[in-house]
Amino acid sequence: MDAHVAQLQMQYRNYILSLYQQGFLDDQFTELKSLQDDGTPDFVAEVLSLFFDDCVKLVGNMARALDQTGTVDFSQVGANVHQLKGSSSSVGAKRVKGLCINFKELCEAKNYEGCVRCLQQVDIEYKTLKAKLQDMFNLEKQIVQAGGIVPQVDIN
């Protein structure tokens, strides 16, 4: 086997493992990967794309709801958090999901400052995850272009 390919594959393995170890991803992401096969090679990418589109939309909604000069509709914010919690959970975005759980409590408590801060964290977190996953996909592409196969990474 090409040494270059082997090196890329090792890099890829380590990268994926670090994403799990650092809590960016959980076993739901593993489940998603297992649903992808030769017939549906873009499934994970498509799902993630939908997820990040959702993030943009929902964060936008929440920012607007929290930007009221008058009274803030916390139930509106809460409804968006609920949706984001659902999709982050379905995609395996562990940190985003965790933030949403806190966020939900802050909405219920009608804690304005807390909500604003939490929203900022959510914004940073989903963008960070997006960048990390982009790096992961780039590594996959490099492996394939170098003539190798993207390895299955066993997370245990």
């Binding site: 549906t40 799902v47 939908l50 659902g86 999709s87 959970s89 379905s90």
Partner: protein
């Protein structure tokens, strides 16, 4: 169980295609459930609302298009659209998953189609309400492939029942014209493959198997995922399945 063994043998021999109708207002969730179902070797149709689901089934505004009369026993009248399972999200605008469940169970044409409810929220009262209304299962999101694979015996039974019912309705070698006489020769075949006419008994069996499976999973998974109201699976759930056979000829 013997029934499961027979079903597995039949599935491997015939590889029947189960057709599942998936209902969810979220595009994201539809994409997921669609892939999951395809991976579970099912044919999938996805719709984004309860209204569209009813339309697809052939029920429009509560009026059943193809139901000729009230004592019809065949659950599959609209032959072009055979649906072996409906899986629906609970929280949807307009018609909720629960509303859809009710409409399906109230329809004489489609009440035998198993309905599964999905929700991202673990609300015991909601879960028992759905089960009481006749939902086959209640899945907490994110739904996994293992969950769907557990549905196969349910779908297989419905498919088999449909086939059996079609067989029974055909004019057969009978001396008297009573329904009992028509059914009797067939009963032997049914019990041979483990399907009993008495609905409650046969419904309870798979549920007990399911409970065991769920408990095993709970031990390995750190988060509580599946139905939290295990006790909610009461055995007195009356879902008339074969009710039609005794009244029809």
């Amino acid at each position: 169980s013997r029934l499961d063994l027979k079903i597995s043998a039949m599935v491997m021999a015939a590889e029947p295609q189960f057709h599942v109708l998936a209902v969810d207002d979220s595009l994201f969730d539809r994409k997921l459930i669609e892939r999951l179902l395809q991976k579970a070797s099912c044919q999938v149709t996805t719709v984004d609302s309860g209204y569209k689901a009813l339309e697809f089934l052939g029920l429009r505004e509560g009026v059943e298009i193809n139901d000729p009369d009230a004592v019809s026993t065949s659950p599959v009248i609209h032959q072009e659209v055979e649906v072996n399972l409906i899986i629906t999200d609970y929280c949807m605008p307009g018609m909720t998953g629960y509303d859809l469940l009710k409409k399906v169970k109230e329809s004489s044409a489609f009440k035998n189609i198993p309905v599964v409810i999905m929700s991202s929220e673990n609300v015991p009262a909601r879960i028992s309400r759905c089960l009481e209304e006749g939902a086959e299962e209640f899945f907490l999101k994110p739904v996994r492939l293992a969950d769907l694979n557990r549905l196969k015996p349910h779908m297989m039974k419905t498919k088999l029942k449909n086939q059996m019912l079609e067989e029974i309705e055909k004019p057969s070698k009978v001396e008297s014209g009573t329904a009992a006489a028509v059914v009797e020769p067939e009963v032997k075949d049914l019990t041979e493959i483990g399907i009993k006419i008495v609905p409650l008994q046969s419904e309870v069996e798979p549920k007990q198997v399911h409970l065991q499976v769920v408990q095993q999973e709970d031990q390995t998974m750190s988060n509580n995922k599946r139905k939290s109201v295990e006790e909610g699976l009461s055995t007195d759930r009356s879902r008339p399945r074969f009710e039609g056979i005794t009244t029809a000829v």
